[in-house]
Symmetry: C2
Subunit: 596 residues, 2 copies
């Protein structure tokens, strides 16, 4: 198997030429930073990923997890790698300075996340979930809870989890049944079972801080009756030392298609006297407290799509360059399969998609940085609007695309791709869950249509389309990019038309609109990717004209954008047609027609 190399050249291009470093450098807290620092950190991240995480990725997948008496053992090398990871601070790049975070921008943590997840997705999930817990406590917790728990969560000394799902309540969180009973002394007793708890139990850290959604006895039904509780595995004494074991345990771990080294736990709270917990935020407002970090969690899951596509692409490219098969019709010489016409198409499909997704991820991260830090509330709102709009698009489009690209990665390897030792099958297996957790593709699509496009009457979408049209004007002004501009123009028009169409449908029949919301989301994702690659092509063309010496890389950027616009983007033609014409067929399909 080949060794992972961080895509530093592409990241450098994006950081230098697509992101607005001037504006970023003016944001509070980022004044003394700059692209040189970011690049040196990305370089270090790449080394860590290549040297520490990548070598235990396939072995971790093969070895998997062990559980005995509620104790989970992670694969060989994982615990040690975690110690190195947190010691180097890879776990808290963008966390607030106050509790020990590094206060660096999301553009950096997002890029680092891609790198680390390319090398070892299972491994990174522990700190990913911990960050989610930190953000919830940070946002909604009392000062006491923050002081007591945040420093060790931020340092990585303790792990954190998010406990939402129950056997009867998956996407419908409001249906959960776990109970919390007020003890009158500032603590609560929690009773209930949670499933699909990522890193609910493990051996990376001495303590694990669980955030658990539960219902108080007098709570209203549904999502308005859910409270959030902090439930430590070991109670924490006032001096910070660990006290007695809390009444919670990992009942079992799941046997999964992928992410074999990431324990997915069934957790039992309160087998005996009840697990002790503390209320985080207000009663019955737990879902809000937990949804604070939803955008960043969804961005992270979207990054999994980028990361696994990149990893699979690297493996496929290396193999395509080494593997001899067949002879060239003209020369009669043996050729590497990269010369085969269809293998080139496959590699370009992977390359163009990953570069489009990566550029979009960092555009979103930048908007989030601006929104969180800018002094002008209007600027913040403008940028937050873009984040809110683009998060469901990116999450679903990037993860769905990764299913295709990682499958392509297998196919480039021929029969070898199907052999587990080759390593590329793992990327597909690891990628499948990303279209499901943190909200399925259908949930992202419903969020996009109902809450992001219809609710503000297309305002944020209008802002996005305005940005796309700026890029379009630049591409149109560049004769070498005429064909790209032509495709982008058509794509933007389709997006505008079908956004209006689905919003209109939504007003008439929510169900009909939702039945074509996934095709609409994928259309939006594809067009957004085209916009990012067109922007890349514009910049690359400018740099070439200015005599930049990185000729092959920059020409490759332009040709990759060209391929995407002609061989990836055109899928929107079918999607658009489906959005306009299918709603009533789907909703009108009688249940008995599915079979009796």
């Amino acid at each position: 198997m080949n060794s992972y190399k961080a895509p530093l050249k592409d990241l450098s291009f994006i950081f230098n030429h697509l992101l607005d470093q001037e504006q970023l450098a003016q944001l509070p807290g980022l004044e003394d930073l700059g692209v040189d620092l970011y690049e040196s950190i990305l370089d270090e991240a790449g080394k860590f990923a290549t040297n520490v995480l990548d070598p235990i990725n396939a072995s971790g997948d093969r070895e998997g997890l062990k559980i005995a008496d509620g104790v989970v053992t992670t694969p060989k090398g994982f615990k040690e790698a975690y110690a190195q990871y947190t010691q180097a601070g890879w776990n808290n790049i963008s966390l607030e300075l106050e509790f020990g975070g590094q206060g660096l921008p999301y553009i950096l943590s997002t890029a680092v996340n891609e790198i680390m997840m390319s090398a070892n997705k299972s491994f990174v999930m522990c700190s990913g979930l911990t960050i989610g817990a930190i953000e919830a406590i940070s946002h909604a917790g009392s000062d006491e809870l923050k002081q007591k728990y945040l420093p060790k969560l931020v340092s990585g000394e303790w792990g954190g989890t998010m406990n939402l799902t129950e056997p009867g309540a998956g996407s419908d969180v409001g249906a959960l049944k776990t109970k919390a009973i007020d003890q009158g002394d500032g603590t609560y007793r929690i009773h209930g079972q949670k499933i699909f708890i990522t890193f609910g139990e493990h051996d990376f850290t001495d303590n694990i801080i669980h955030l658990v959604l539960a219902r108080l006895p007098d709570a209203p039904e549904g999502v308005r009756g859910i409270s959030l509780f902090l439930v430590p595995k070991f109670m924490v004494n006032d001096d910070g030392s660990l006290g007695e074991r809390n009444d919670l345990r990992c009942v079992s771990i799941e046997h999964k298609l992928g992410i074999h080294a990431s324990p997915t736990c069934v957790m039992a709270y309160g087998d005996n006297e009840g697990a002790q917990g503390y209320l985080v935020g207000e009663k019955n407002k737990g879902l809000m407290a937990m949804f604070v970090m939803m955008n960043m969690a969804r961005l992270t899951v979207g990054m999994e799509g980028v990361a696994l596509t990149e990893r699979s692409y690297q493996a496929a490219l290396d193999y395509a360059r080494e593997r001899l098969q067949g002879v060239d019709a003209e020369t009669g010489q043996s050729v590497a399969i990269i010369e085969h016409a269809d293998v080139r198409r496959q590699l370009l499909q992977m390359k163009s998609n990953v570069e489009a997704m990566r550029a979009l991820s960092l555009f979103i991260a930048q908007a989030q940085d601006i929104s969180f830090r800018h002094a002008d509330a209007e600027v913040c709102q403008h940028n937050q609007g873009l984040v809110d709009l683009l998060i469901p698009v990116f999450k679903a489009w990037a993860t769905e695309t990764a299913l295709k690209t990682t499958t392509t990665g297998i196919q480039v390897h021929g029969g070898l791709g199907f052999i587990e030792e080759t390593g590329v099958a793992q990327y597909l297996r690891d990628a499948v869950i990303s279209v499901i957790y943190e909200g399925t593709t259908a949930i992202q699509a419903a969020d996009l249509v109902g809450r992001k496009v219809v609710k503000d009457q297309g305002k944020n979408l209008g802002v996005l389309i305005g940005l796309m049209k700026q890029t379009l004007a630049q591409a149109e002004a560049n004769a070498d990019l005429a064909d790209i501009a032509f495709e982008l123009k058509y794509a933007i028009e389709l997006l505008e038309q079908h956004s209006r169409a689905i919003a209109g449908q939504f007003m008439q029949s929510t169900k009909q609109a939702l039945s074509v919301s996934v095709p609409y989301l994928m259309l939006t994702g594809l067009v957004t990717g085209a916009w990012q690659l067109a922007q890349s092509a514009v910049k690359a063309s400018e740099l070439l004209a200015a005599g930049d010496s990185n000729v092959n890389f920059l020409k490759g950027k332009i040709e990759t954008a060209r391929f995407y616009h002609k061989a990836v983007l055109p899928e929107i033609r079918g999607l658009a047609y489906t959005v306009s014409n299918t709603g009533s067929v789907i909703t009108g399909f009688d249940n008995v027609y599915f079979g009796e």
Copy 2:
């Protein structure tokens, strides 16, 4: 996990209303048969699949295979099931009567194959490969070889294998290096290693008859220097009893993404004195002898796509009907997820694809039956032309589609889909290899464009399009199907246009044409599927008008066709665009642009 049920209603519809039973009943050997008999056999096949094969499918996947000292042990229950399978004659439905086959038509064996593979793909591969070996021996072998080996291969008492691939020779069979040395006594000694040998070693049968491609010392290079040899695991005495063990062994078995119960073997021939073998057919014409069964083998692999889509659809449909999640906005009642707009879309995607693929598979099988049996050479040629044209389309389109549909099947299950015990992840894992073996999708596409469309100057394609236009005329004459006719008309036009376009490209630049040959193939597959479903809708509409009581089934047929035409078929718009516009971008992409 739900229990598999054979899709007898859909098969009955196809057998009665889409196939030409009148013509079939006039073919030599089929005169006394008829749809009643076929249906009763399919009913029995369904029972066998449900009761014997389905119950050991997931357990076989979990348990996998064991190897010790070259002896392969299949999972619990497999050996016993194989004995039942062959005793019931499921292994030789369409084999010739002469050596013990049942001489039944391919339409029947194709449908039975779907049923059995839905229930347990790994299991069925043993007899699938054996049939390939039988057909090669039957076609090219001497009478002596036929008499000695065919009866026990046909009965299933012995297994058969196909040994093509070597470490350095995958799709490029001509590069193989295994040697054969003439002993001057009618036997040859074989030396070499073969990989990816399906059921190369197992415990189902007492003997295994390997068909091995190898080179004689004086053979020309490349594909014109390959001969085919019959190499038994145990030598066979003149009285039919087993003699000494031959000099061949299974070195290892692969650890694969899927089909865990189907041993994929590395085979070593001639570690010592050389494995004894017999020439099958003429010297240096081995590839031709082996390619005789290529069409039927590719049809079988295409059926794997149908089978796994059906299995995954059944699991998803059952789950969607049972799983309560969320409440209906209007009634406030809990609803099963089949009511969720996007789940309906997902189920319809699976249902419409599987019905399109199934109908096409049986159309091809029928053409093959006519071609093999009809008295009029012209009729045979006409039908064989359709088979030759449609086989690569069906093989690649059905297997590629299965990757999407089995992924959808996982997604319908939400997080549970990712848990192996749920069972639906296996369908995806089992499906992945089908796009690779028996010729990758790229190879099917090259075959389609180069040998099937260009070579005969579009003659057979013209025949196919003529048939599509007949269906179109029927749909156009039916007011209820106006929208389906509209879509089909556009689709046929696109297919005609882009067939001409890619043929033109092929003459100018083979590489450019091949670089878009997969999108062209997928376009062809989608249009062919639309044609079959339009035909189904026409028939269903006629039956409804005639007062057929199967109202829900028939209305479902029409609406399924409608969904396909509006939400599946439109993908051709993007594919067509790519076919026309991308060739030069792909072939012109400099290798260094992929990265340095």
